[in-house]
Symmetry: C2
Subunit: 467 residues, 2 copies
Amino acid sequence: MHPADDTFAAALVEQLPADTLRRAEPRYLEEPRGKWRGLSQWVALPRTTQEVSTILKACNAARVGVVPYGGGTGLVAGQVSTDGAALILSLERMTAIMGVYPQENAAVVQAGAILADVQAAAAEADRLFPLSLASEGSARIGGLLSTNAGGVNTLRYGNARDQVLGLEAVLPDGQIWNGLKRLRKDNTGYDLRHLLMGAEGTLGVITTAALKLQPRPAVTGTALLTVASPQAALDLLSLARTQIGDGISAFELMHRMGFDFLRETLPDIRQPWESPPEWAVLIELGLGRDQSPQEALETLFAESFEAGLVSDGLIAQSAQQAQDFWNIREHIPEGNKRIGSISSQDISLPLSAIPEFIATAGPALAKLGDFRINCFGHVGDGNLHYNVFPAQGRSRTDYNVSDAVKTCVHDLTDSFGGSVSAEHGLGRLKVGDLERYGDPAKLAAMRAIKAALDPNGIMNPGAVLSS
Amino acid sequence: MHPADDTFAAALVEQLPADTLRRAEPRYLEEPRGKWRGLSQWVALPRTTQEVSTILKACNAARVGVVPYGGGTGLVAGQVSTDGAALILSLERMTAIMGVYPQENAAVVQAGAILADVQAAAAEADRLFPLSLASEGSARIGGLLSTNAGGVNTLRYGNARDQVLGLEAVLPDGQIWNGLKRLRKDNTGYDLRHLLMGAEGTLGVITTAALKLQPRPAVTGTALLTVASPQAALDLLSLARTQIGDGISAFELMHRMGFDFLRETLPDIRQPWESPPEWAVLIELGLGRDQSPQEALETLFAESFEAGLVSDGLIAQSAQQAQDFWNIREHIPEGNKRIGSISSQDISLPLSAIPEFIATAGPALAKLGDFRINCFGHVGDGNLHYNVFPAQGRSRTDYNVSDAVKTCVHDLTDSFGGSVSAEHGLGRLKVGDLERYGDPAKLAAMRAIKAALDPNGIMNPGAVLSS
């Protein structure tokens, strides 16, 4: 692999409109966790799919690596070139919302469109684009699809890959695949969409997407319920599904540790209790015009209280109160950050294994040291953020067990049939985890596909598969 | 490619338990439309994934083709070996429902399980497995997933591929991929599930699947509404979605021609009108415990009548009446069969293009001859079955335009951004259509993937890609 150095840039610049290539500013070399630093010297900022094609053709011919770049919000270092000086290919100029089709529940957007802008365009047409996550103000569609992002609405609407009808992409040799169909049923050969989604830019560059929209729930309701245990949270989810059907948009589990951290580090975040509960669930409903979420939540509370699942609870009485509840949930990661974790893991488990996993993981970790654990997340879809912190009064520099903690959590996750990367992807951070926990036949197939579609290995080298 | 002849069978039989290999009975050589006839001499009937692996290893070593075989219900000849004597690999002995996990909304089943049995196992656990189609009494899970089958519930729940959490499969070289995870979020590398699904057995054999289940709608409602036009049907769907949200399970468009054919060929099928309407919609709701589908349908009828979309309608007052309505819809294909079509196409279109497509296709076809057209289908997801018949009193043998009709319908579909294979797949029937209408970059990528995963081309040779 050759570096995207000044010589290469000088040749490429001839093939592109003015100002398409720039020296890489520091922001292209950083990632949110501050643990990796990219070595790229140049960034390409194409305005059209054709320009993306020109760039990939040149890189492929010159054996120069390319790192596709969206909003730069990824948490696993998929967006930085660390073991070479690959060209950063940023989609930030391709941000058009090309069409919204309310009657079809569809929209076509370029890969550089920011998630919040896509959500807004859908809302303007009285539709919902349901993908929703903390970084939605800066994350871009291309990156979200390439990493198959998750978020809070997966329970109801699925992951990023489930929001896609069609894609346009540039393959590693520069060929443009026009698969931009707005169809719900299309059985004409291998599904390249799903192969590119989740490949984290290692098989090509998504340039445009035809997205599914959803009917916008006419009325919403939010409640914060104190549950007896993780098992009670799952029983509550079952009960809610029987009662309310598909109308549950989010179902988040939170632990007391998260509330304590918030109180300590972000005291302005309003918390509705004197003494925080051990476990709480945030539930959000989105229902049709003629339904009452308030009534549904009241019935759910009454029945779950009766069944001993829920001991206390608040049903939001205003949009402000609903926002306050969400504010707690959304600030938990910031609280964690301010406390400073020893190890943070994004895992998923079969739903029924969650209670036993949580019961087992604490004692297993206790053998490695004295920790505080904040386990929370999108429990409705089995996704836990399992974060381990120093004991009260101690600092993480007192500990030297970060790897051991990670391995302990991952081994346990794997033994319960879970995944060591639920919604964040592999990037560069978890290449070794795939080798450790991945199925050998799958790994062999992945390598064969990578070699077939990107024989020169130019696409995001070092991400997903070791190069 | 070598044939699976007696010499090969004699060698393979040594590696397998008694009675795993049999001479291919006629049923393995036929397909429902009676247009293709397989040449296979031998069928393998493995009992375990390990045996499937043994068989594929032997075939791969000997360069012998393998045709994976489910329920044999496919309509595009994907299940018959016509240009060689490939080994039929039937999953009919691997039918176990291995586990049902109601709290997870998941089930694990072997590939040979019949769809109706999976539906029943889900219902027994008070859950819904939503995939539903005419052949559900004989179609098997492995075939349904490999062909990404559609059906009547796609609008609400998606296609077959959307029902899958994890897969176990045997790859062409005999390696077993264990990807049988019951996870909603798992971002650990390329999505092999979605690559195998829709590949129609050309990249490996699905042996077991972890499936999503859904909460079972507590209450259902069915209505048969007379709509003014296809456009009115789409406007009705929009209105229904705004009003009812996600609760619409099916939304089927039917044309008068279908009712006329039924009256002529199957007069025992009860029809609720004296003179059939030009266009009608069958709508089914499935709602939560505290909702009333009856009320929702009444409101929908009142509002759509007011808006001039619907001129008449019946809301089923009993399960029997709902069944009668569905009976009409489900017998339309049989009525078509008895009349005898010149050409039957399974197409899909962007929803908003449907009215113009229908308005354009009739006059375009009229230039080729005097036809009767029955256009019906899962309009909620853009899937039309577009069937062309001889004029009243004439026979299809009077016509010699079957290919011209097909090309006319397909060209028009393609020009509207549609798909020439919506839910049936490509099989052997539509290999040429993929070459004609498929994107060249996609085709090149498909060929590269096929060569990478199945370098000897043993998997379902002649299906999907020309061999």
